[in-house]
């Protein structure tokens, strides 16, 4: 074994390469897979992680099975944000001079899409030469898409307190603009015993089965009152709203959704929350450095925003 907690070495290399390796190992759960992902041999990965462990004086990943230790988990979280910020820096600088011929926008499935439509119609009429491409993305990967420069802006949605921002990324990493807020409703099967309630409290449903749809409802997972209750949960990993509603109608569980998304759906009753301490919120994410052309689209989008 090694002399953990000795920490004789102070401030040695500790370069980005090593952090990337740690992160890949933690994500993949395997040195071999991480090596393949990064284009190294697993020996190299082993050495990089070993170097980190030596520097910090803590074991970072358990071997066999490969699992992060608490220290490794913590470091991996920091590493993830550092790498994200590096992506942002790269994206920002890479488009500093260039003026792109097209503007690419990503939209999350439940993000208020009428805003995007209206804004793009306006952009189209005033600037018909500008090509705009729209892509649907998972709210979990929306930040990374903007950060990496895969898209120029993203309409992201999630659950937050009223007038509170979604905390999607580090402060100052990306520019975010509030676009819309909608009340949250609990979607229940039409024959559910609570279907006639006027309003409903989340606590009432604390022990009820929920359908978690991480690819659809952004921050719902963390905010929903479902602790670690395996067995009672259904996870729907698709981006298809009708499918999710069908699951609800079939009685597999309740779902927390923005009101507009489940109005007048057969077999599903939508009941507003008692105390609207949580709302569904849509924000526009973009890099902080934008080209004039992107700026125009984003400005139009912002002008359409019902908030502020």
């Amino acid at each position: 074994m090694m002399f953990w907690h000795l920490s004789i070495s102070d401030t040695y290399p500790m370069e980005i390469r090593d952090l990337r390796a740690l992160l890949a190992v933690v994500r993949c759960g395997s040195f071999t897979a991480a090596a393949k992902e990064l284009g190294y041999t697993q020996s190299a990965i082993s050495q990089q992680v070993a170097a980190l462990e030596l520097e910090f004086g803590h074991q970072l990943v358990q071997r066999r099975p490969v699992r992060p230790t608490p220290a490794g988990q913590r470091l991996a979280e920091h590493a993830a944000r550092i790498l994200l910020r590096l992506d942002v820096a790269r994206s920002e600088l890479s488009q500093l001079g260039h003026e792109p011929a097209e503007v690419r926008v990503a939209v999350c499935p439940l993000a208020a899409p009428q805003l995007l439509a209206a804004a793009l119609r306006e952009v189209r009429s005033t600037n018909p030469l500008l090509r705009v491409t729209i892509r649907s993305v998972d709210p979990r990967s929306a930040v990374a898409e903007v950060a990496s420069g895969a898209v120029d802006a993203a309409l992201v949605d999630g659950i937050a307190g009223p007038d509170e921002p979604l905390h999607l990324a580090d402060a100052g990493l990306l520019s975010s603009t509030a676009m819309a807020e909608a009340p949250l409703v609990v979607a229940l099967p039409a024959d559910h015993p609570l279907q006639n309630r006027e309003r409903i409290d989340l606590d009432v449903l604390a022990d009820a089965p929920w359908i978690v749809a991480p690819a659809l409802a952004g921050g719902a997972d963390e905010r929903a009152p479902t602790g670690p209750r395996p067995g009672l949960q259904v996870v729907y990993d698709g981006k298809d709203l009708p499918t999710l509603l069908a699951l609800v109608a079939a009685g597999l569980g309740a779902a927390l959704l923005p009101a507009p998304s489940c109005a007048r759906v057969d077999g599903v009753t939508a009941i507003p929350l008692c105390s609207p301490r949580l709302v569904h919120r849509t924000e526009l994410l973009a890099l902080r450095t934008t080209t004039p052309r992107q700026q125009r689209v984003i400005e139009v989008l912002r002008a359409k925003a019902s908030l502020r």
Copy 2:
């Protein structure tokens, strides 16, 4: 010259070392000074910056005089946050096992100190063996002090909207707890023409001379309505409140201060703001991983907080 904007190279090294070098160059305004600071030759620094410029395809610093370009400025901002986060990671991991014999707290000069005093009295009575050391710090360096592990917690103050957090660092970097809020007042010389006003609007004083005290009032600089008005400003870089008030009394300018700090001072009139859209706020900053002993002190401090 070089082929800027060509950017043939994609994803080359770009390690932390280079970012540190860029940051030092930007801070020092000199390759030579940066080299001395980092323990390299200036040749090495030159090569590191050149490597970054090659990778990004942008010139990052102008030479002669050495000044960051817009791209360099942007990258340096990212670099600063990355290095800060690395400091936090190091601090967190380094104290994961250890249980320190003393708890070190930093206090900013205008941060509500009575909170600290009361909390420490309580800590002292319940845990007399625990050694607590207190240091006064500049609000500008408070975050770095906590991040680097130089202190375990810091009482920081600044100006923010009511019930809004000070945005001192990236979200999730450090834990922050609201401790107190105090109204802001404009400190004027006693013979100032506006001295008899009940309340005052910042816009009224937009063109008046201000005394800026960055070492005292944290976020006041950015929030105060003084744009770039050279000549009309006095900068007091000390941490001494009486000195600042003496400057105000001498008629050198107005200052934006928390009300408790300038109550009943000879020669100075304190006038509350018209619309209290800004308040003086004190927050407690600490690492997100705390040892049980630190946790106790922090808990007691939090319990003393008048907010929430």
